[in-house]
Structures are given as C-alpha cells and as structure tokens.
Amino acid sequence: MHPFEYVRAKSVDEAVAALAKHGERARPLAGGTDVLVMARAGRWELDALVDIKHIPETNIVELGASEFRLGAAVPCYRIYEDDEISAKFPCLVDTASIIGGIQIQSRAGLGGNLCNASPSADGIGPLIVHHATCVIAGPNGTREVAVEDFCTGPGRSVIGNGELLVEMKMPIPRKGFGAAYERFTPRNEMDIAIAGVASSVQLNGNIIESARIALASVGPTPILSSAGDQLAGKEATAENFSAAAQAAIADTSPISDMRGTVEQRKHLVGVLTRRTLERAVERARENN
C-alpha cells in the first residue's frame, strides 16, 4: 500500500483545501469500510485520506419541517436508532440495517455508500426514491445534484478533484407516501446485492399519484427506472405492479458474473419491484 497522510479536517473548507491539494491522489475518509480496503488492495494510490467525520456539516441529522438533512459522514446506525427518522423513513432503515454487519454500520453511512458509486450499492436506490439531492462543496463553492445523477459509472461519480459530498437532503414525506427497499443476497447478511430495488409511491386513496423505482446491481450505475412514471395515475393493484415489474426489467442492462447471471438478475428485479411496491403501498397506507 502506498503510504498516505491522514488529515483530520475540522471544517468543510479545510477538507476541500486538503482534497484540492492532492487532486486525484486524495479521498475523503468517512466510514473507511470501503476506502481503506480499496487502498490496501491497490485499487487507488493515495497520498492523503481526509477524515470528514469531525466536520459539523457532514454529521448533521436534521428533521426539519419540510426537509430531512443527512450529513455525508453519518453512519448507518444513527438512522435506525433514531425513532423519529425510523418512523418517517423506514426505507432508509431497510437499507441502513443491511449494509454490512453491526460493525460496518457503526462507521459506514449512506454518504460513503453514494460516493463509492458501486452499481450494487444498497444505499443509493432508497435515496433516489426519496428524491434526495446531494450537496457538494468544492473549491468554487457549493452545488447541488440530484442523487440519480450522481453516479456516472462503476466507482465513478460527478465528484471532481477537491470536491466533497457534504450532505444529502430530501423532502419530509407527505401523508400517503411510502417507500421500501429490498435486495436479494444468497446470505441473509454480510453480502452484496445480486439485485436490489427501492420503490416509493405517493398514494391518494388507491390511486398512485406518483412513484419512483430505483434498481441496484443491474447496470453500470444505480438506475432510476421509468417504471415509476408509468405507474402514475394508476391504481395500486397487483396487475399494475406486475406491469411495473416488467417495465423495470426492461430498464436493466445487467452482466453475468460470480454473483449472478443476467437472467437471474432480471428475474429478481421483477420479483423485488413487485414486493417493494406492495410494501411501499402498505407503508403509504399506514402513513395516512
């Protein structure tokens, strides 16, 4: 492993400055559960890791009147151990409680999961279906990017040299909103999704006003499927969910590898789309 420096940033500006100084040879360090493993495996050659866990902004967990702000360094456990967040964002609990084991969840968070930009990330789909926006700080100020536009390829994102994901923000769900995430893995825990689907619906009676469906592990990036749009205005019925599942499958472009085959992944997307829509609708009805 190439020897790197450890920089503990106390502010966003300090972090941005440290990242900018080293360009491609620096990475932010949040949970470390991916970045340290990859540095050790020689995936990146780094001169510096910039610890962002001591910056107030990246640690924010704020349930406002209209917006939920989640700092980029907030570890998974702070989501599922917070009753209020758990009640309002059960879909985030779905994902936060299955990323790694308890040890990983003590450190890893959705921000790191996002920046890691893995096609199989469990955390990105749920953010997409919650209409989350990424707040990115950089040498030239702050910009915002929709989560679905954040990843640009396997392990690649819109984050440029010197830039730092500070927080994700998303609207507080209105009444009639429900979301759910489910992945398929051969083991019950400690595994990588062969396929994952996050679904959200805004329900009015039995009519789906709007829906979002995001897919994991079936393309080079997490995918915001068009299947959600097709559900808009339709009734929450098994037939419509099946149609949405077919539409979701059509949006995938999976590969066959050690974790699963193209056929298996497409099939699983269908199953999980149906299941997460059912669960999202259930939650939407509870949230009335």
Binding site: M190, E263, Q264
Partner: protein, 759 residues
C-alpha cells in the same frame, strides 16, 4: 435408541469441564502464530502470480532489493533443488520436489497466486511496496481448471514431466492424469441384471475451502549454527518439520518447529506454505522473519478441497435390496498430484452392504491450487452422489429412506467396496437413533404462503485413522500432573486428552495440566487430522497414566516395604491388599515421591491400529422461496456414533461445526473461476460462508457404540459429520421442489434456473 454406555461408568469421561486453555482464549492472552514477536523481527511479503498458467521468462528483483528498509529478496533460485521423492507424512505423503515448487514457483506458474518471489523488510508496508517493484515477465499459457477438460486430448498440460498412470500402466506421452485406480468385487453386470431398478447420474461439484478464520503465518530464524527455528500455525509440528526440512534439504533434526495456538485448520494446515520461505528469508537477511498470509492468498494459494466429476450407478430390487453399484470418481488434485479421490473411493459405498461393486478413481492435475485435506476429504463429494441416488431409489420404490438404509446397512463383517472388512461399527444404531429423533418423528409444518418446504436425510461414513502419538505425564508433589503431548489443539483436545489421563489416575481433570510441546519437547507425534487426536493421543494419555499408576504402585510398596503386587489401585487410591490401614490417595502418595526415588514420569508412545469407522446420519428441513431461489435451513439434526463421548460438549461442537460447513458447501460456497482460470471471489464477502444469521440451531444426538480398538471406546468424531450435509440438503431441496440437483453449490441462481426449466 441412543445407547448410554458412558453414563455412570466413568468419573471424568462424559462430563463437561472447562477446557484448560479456555481462560487464555477468552481473554485474548492466547498466543497464535501471528502474535509472536522477536527482537529484530523483519516482516515479509510474497509476490504471487496473477496468471493461472504461465511460463516465467524473467524475474527482475533489483528495484526491490535497492529499496531502503529491504533486507532480503528471494526467488526459486534461492531454494535448493528438492529431492524427487515421496515421503510418508503420517496422514498422507508428500513429494518434496512438488512441495518445493509449490512454495516458490520454478520456471512455470501453475495457478493464480503461485508464489514467484519474496521480500523481507523492516515493516509490513515496506515489504509489500518492495514486492510490488519486482518485475516478472510471463508468457501466458492457456489454463485448464476442470477435471473433464483436463482429461480431454489436447488439453493444456499442467505438469510437463508428470508420468501418468492408468490401472498400473504408465501413460505414454504428456498427460494431466496422475493416476487411475480401481476397486472391484463381485460381478457388477450380473448384479445390475438382478436389479428391478437401476438409477445412475453424473455429478459435478465445485472446489471449496476449509475457511478457517486464522490466515497462515510463519516466523523463522536461521542461526549461525545452521539451526532453523520456526513458529507457526500448524496441525502437526512434526509434519511441518519434515516438510520444511525436505524443502530446505537439511536433516529434520536441524529444524525446530514451535507450534503456536492454531486458529482453525480442518486439514488445510497440514501442508506448509510460508515456513520454508520465511526460513530462507531469515537466512539471507540474518534476521528473524515473519510472514502473514492475506485472506485472498489463503483462498488462491493454499489447499482447498477438489472440484469433482462423478458418476454413480446403483441397482436395487423392489424389496429394497441393493444388488450392485459402480462409481466413477474424478477429482482435481490442483497443480500437483494427490487429490483425496482414494478416500472418496474408500467411503462412497461404505455405509452399505453391496455384493457387487466397482469403483474407479482418477486423480487429475489442473491449474488450481494444490488441494489439501478438508474434513473427511473426498467423502462429502462421494456421499453427495451416492446418497442422492439412494434417496431417488427410496422415492421410486416407495420405501422409507431410513428403513432402506437400515436394511442395506454395513455392519461388523461386511466387506467394504475397497476391500477390507468392517470391524464393529454403529451404522444401524445411528440410523435407528435418527428414526427415533424428535426431528424425524415431527412432521414438517406447512410452509408459509409462497414458500415451499422439504425434508431430506443422508448418511455418511468416515474411516478415521490412528497413527503415532506420544504423551508424558510428570507427577508434581502436590498431586497435580503435567501432561505433555505433541498434538496441536484446534478444538479442545487438550481437555479431552487430560480427561482420559485424569480418569485413569483417579484425579480431577483440573489437576491435569496439559501442554502441547514443540518438536524438541516430545516424541514424534502425527498431525491433528484424520479424527485421530482424541483417539490416538488419548490412547497414549491412557497408557502414560497407566505407566504412572504402575510406578506409583511400586512407590507405595516401597513405602510400606511390601512387594508391588501386594498393592492395588482403585478409585484413585493405592492400598495394601493385606492391610486395609495402608492406604494413600494419589495426592498423598505424590507428596512422598521425593523420599521414595524421586519424581515419577509416565510415558507412552502409541501407533494404534483400531481407529474403527464412524457414521453420521443427518436430517435437514429447508424452506425455499421459489421466486428468488433462496433456501433457508430451518431445522437440522446431526446423529452420530462417536464411540464414547469424552467431553460431550466438544463432541457436539464438532458435529455442529461440521454440519455448518456442510450447509455452506451445499448452498453457496464455491471457487468461482473466470475464463482465464482466475478465482474471482477470493474474499469472505464473496465466498459466502454461513453466518450465525444463516443457520438454525443444530440439534445433536450422540450415539455411543464403543470402539473395541480403544481403551475407552473412542471413535474419531471430527470428520464424519461433514459427510452427509450436502446430500441431506440436496434431498430436502428435492422434497420441496421435486427437482434433483447434481451440481454444487445448489445456490439461488441454480435453483431459479432449474425452476424456469421446469416451468
């Protein structure tokens, strides 16, 4: 019927004391191989081949050697030419030339992860950085990783100088077939003609790893007197010594191996990998050198158990009598000859009494790491094939699978299909106990909506081994004893060995202090493997304790001025036959040793022949989500004849641990190779061993049919419980889905594909 021979018969045996080494292990004080440190210690790193099969054109180590902090860089040219000879290692044998080539490649790399160079430096990171500076020029060759591909004409040749054998005849020309042997009894054609039903199938299993949590490690010094000392994690210090000495071409006595605590082995820590490399680095640098293996290398470069292709055919009459059976077993040995196909052949039909049998075994080299033992090596593969055929037979002729197994069971006097006659065994008792288990008697509950449930049963045989063990017992003046043994303790054997000594001496087990010695602290002792430790080292402990008793009888006689035969020993007391007043406990007598001739030390060296065989019958309930192909094991019972359970808690632990490994093997574990022959899932993340959240409680039923070949009736217990699980799970999945799987792992992808084909 669970026999209950132990209860009430013994004072110590059959109880559940706290193990002697337990305190160190729960407090973090126990010293494992990676924990050792020495003054001036250097850290090593190994550069390994990225290719599965390639010719090494050149190695340039100059940049690494020039790096500050680097003390030694070595390649195969630093190794002596190893002897081309097969040497007995107790449990198996080793060819030093292959062993040497395996720890450091010569002109060819034979598998991904094959070591090509090594570095010793001031710290781990410097060593790793230096290793990355070594330039190796390869000519990449086409690899072959599957047995059947390696047997095809025109297949890439793995070992250019291998002389293949086929039924005793040398094979002309280059080949990947190291050997083909056959066992044949009776007339199989006649037997199949007598059958009303003949079932035959082909099987294909993936390579799997033992998955011990502690990676391999070795620390070595090579002093000015040419004395080599190695601290390592090994299943056998003496076997390690022989391998190290063989590769280094020095006499065994020049090498001292100090076995430290061992973090799991299951057969995989019998071969040495890092030890000779650390020794040569130590010699070249003049400093102690430590090598720790990365997890990726543990998968890619140590000894997993083979992938296989098998064909099994069984004929049966409508009344359930087996008339004939044949097996064709083809195992990949890895890069060098020596798969466990011989053991597979010994076991494949050994749970049954079959009049006409033929077994063919093939040992095939491929571009994969050299296989090593893994808990009853070969038997799990064989049982997967045989036991799923038997399940199909039972289904077709409408017979209860346990009744069928009892009707056809091997018993004392039955000839095994590989020749020898079974001694006293407990196959029938094990099946009967399974039949009477709560699990078997409780019908499977209906599955929740959308799920399917099934139950499967399978049985397994393992022959167990004896081999050499030495034990000494020194009596302290306070009545406690120090027990020294050469068997490394992986799963609590210090406790079971101490218990047998305590039983003989009539003292509490806490008064026995067991200690595992290095190769200069005890006589030659074979590896902890083959389910032999509690059997053979326990046998030695029994005999050494008897030796102590004999000597203490003489001391008592001396004290009382009578002849030794006038003193008797019972229940831990020495007493005069003629004068009931003359009576001393072990403890009292121990305090008088100084005045009767000095310390008493009992010793025993054994090489017992009566290991006997063991059977395990297991019941699995599964629940399957047909939409995703996910299988959950919801109930699992292991029934096993253990002879005599010395420490029942650790016997159960062996049964449970083996079952868990077997469940992982059945459902998810595999070496996944890409087209270039590279393993692409060499991490715990993607290798997918079961976690606590993947398994149910594993119920255990201990059956005790004492082994007449052991003073306390012990049979080996560690290996046989991994034999049936894969077949039991496959049979349960069939029960749930109506589909037979003949490949492992039976993972969700395979189940989905089969369901789709069925739809």
């Amino acid at each position: 019927m669970v026999t209950d021979t132990t209860k009430g018969k013994y004072n110590v045996i059959g109880t559940r004391p706290i193990r002697h080494d337990g305190y160190d292990k729960v407090t973090g004080r126990a010293i494992y191989g990676a924990d050792i440190t020495l003054p001036g210690l250097l850290q090593g790193a190994i550069l390994r081949s990225p290719h599965a099969h390639a010719r090494i054109k050149s190695i340039d180590t100059s940049a690494a050697a020039a790096m500050p902090g680097v003390h030694a860089v070595i390649t195969h040219t630093d190794f002596p030419a190893a002897e081309d000879t097969l040497v007995d290692l107790g449990e198996g044998a080793v060819n030093f030339r292959y062993a040497s080539n395996n720890v450091m490649a010569g002109d060819k790399v034979l598998y991904r992860g094959h070591p090509v160079a090594a570095v010793a430096a001031v710290d781990k990171n410097t060593a790793l950085e230096a290793a990355s500076l070594i330039k190796v020029e390869y000519e990449v060759l086409k690899p072959v990783t599957k047995v059947m591909d390696a047997m095809k004409p025109g297949a890439p040749i793995v070992l250019e100088d291998l002389e293949g054998q086929d039924l005793g005849e040398k094979i002309d020309g280059q080949t990947n077939q190291a050997n083909h042997f056959r066992h044949e009894f009776g007339d199989v054609d006649k037997g199949f003609a007598q059958a009303d039903l003949v079932i035959e199938h082909e099987y294909d299993t993936a390579m799997v790893h033992q998955g011990y949590i502690e990676p391999h490690n070795a620390t070595a010094t090579w002093d000015e007197d040419d004395r080599i000392t190695v601290w390592t994690s090994t299943q056998g210090a003496f076997a390690a010594r022989r391998q190290i000495a063989g590769v280094l071409r020095v006499p065994d006595s020049q090498v001292k191996v100090i076995p430290l605590e061992i973090g799991g082995g299951f057969g995989g820590k019998i071969p040495t990998y890092l030890e000779p490399v650390a020794a040569i680095l130590a010699r070249k640098s003049g400093r102690p050198v430590k090598l720790l293996m990365e997890r990726t290398s543990v998968f890619e470069s140590t000894g997993p158990t083979p992938g296989s292709w098998m064909h099994v055919k069984v004929g049966v009459k409508n009344d359930g009598t087996i008339t004939a059976a044949t097996a064709d077993l083809r195992f990949d040995a890895g890069a060098y000859p020596g798969s466990p196909v011989g053991a597979a052949a010994m076991c494949v039909f050994s749970a049954y009494d079959i009049p006409n049998t033929r077994i063919d075994g093939y040992d095939i080299v491929v571009n994969k790491p050299k296989t090593a033992a893994y808990r009853a090596p070969g038997a799990t593969h064989a049982a997967f094939a045989m036991e799923t055929v038997v399940d199909e037979i039972c289904e077709k002729i409408g017979m209860d699978p346990l009744e069928f197994r009892i009707q056809n069971a091997a018993k004392e006097g039955t000839r095994r299909a590989d020749g020898p006659i079974h001694p006293k065994i407990g196959a029938i008792e094990t099946h009967q106990a399974a039949m009477q288990s709560d699990h078997w008697k409780t019908p499977l509950e209906n599955a929740p909506d959308g799920k399917l449930r099934g139950r499967g049963v399978a049985t397994g045989y393992w022959f167990n081994i004896g081999l050499k063990s030495v034990v000494t017992i020194a009596v302290n003046e306070d009545g406690t004893v120090a027990l020294t043994e050469g068997s490394t303790d992986i799963g609590g054997s210090r406790a079971s060995i101490a218990m047998m000594a305590a039983e003989v001496l009539g003292i509490p087990v806490e008064d026995v202090r067991p200690h595992v010695a290095d190769t200069e602290g005890i006589g030659y002792t074979d590896v902890t493997g083959g389910s032999r430790t509690t059997y053979a080292t326990g046998y030695a402990a029994h005999d050494a304790a008897q030796d102590v008793v004999t000597q203490l009888l003489e001391r008592a006689a001396k004290l009382w001025d009578v002849e030794p035969d006038e003193v008797e020993f019972s229940n831990g007391s020495y007493q005069s036959k003629s004068d009931p007043e003359l009576r001393l406990s072990h403890k009292e007598l121990s305090s008088k040793l100084g005045s009767t001739g000095g310390p008493v030390v009992g010793t025993a060296s054994v090489d017992p022949e009566g290991a006997g065989g063991a059977y395990s019958t297991q019941i699995a309930d599964v629940e399957i989500d047909p939409e995703t192909g996910k299988t959950d094991v919801i109930r699992f019972t292991v029934v096993q004849d253990v002879g005599t359970a010395i420490h029942p808690a650790y016997v159960e632990g062996q049964m449970q641990g083996a079952a868990a490994q077997g469940i992982g093997w059945a459902l998810n574990e595999e070496y996944f190779f890409n087209d270039d022959g590279q393993m692409v899932n060499s991490s715990f993340l993607d290798y997918r061993m079961p976690t606590s959240y993947d398994l149910p409680e594993i119920e255990t039923i201990i059956v005790e049919v004492p082994n007449p070949g052991h003073p306390f009736g012990v049979r080996g217990v560690g290996e046989v419980p991994i034999v049936p699980p894969v077949a039991a799970i496959a049979n349960a999945i069939h029960d749930a889905l109506g589909i037979r799987f003949r490949e492992t792992p039976i993972n969700p992808g395979r189940i989905r594909a089969a369901l789709e084909a069925k739809e």
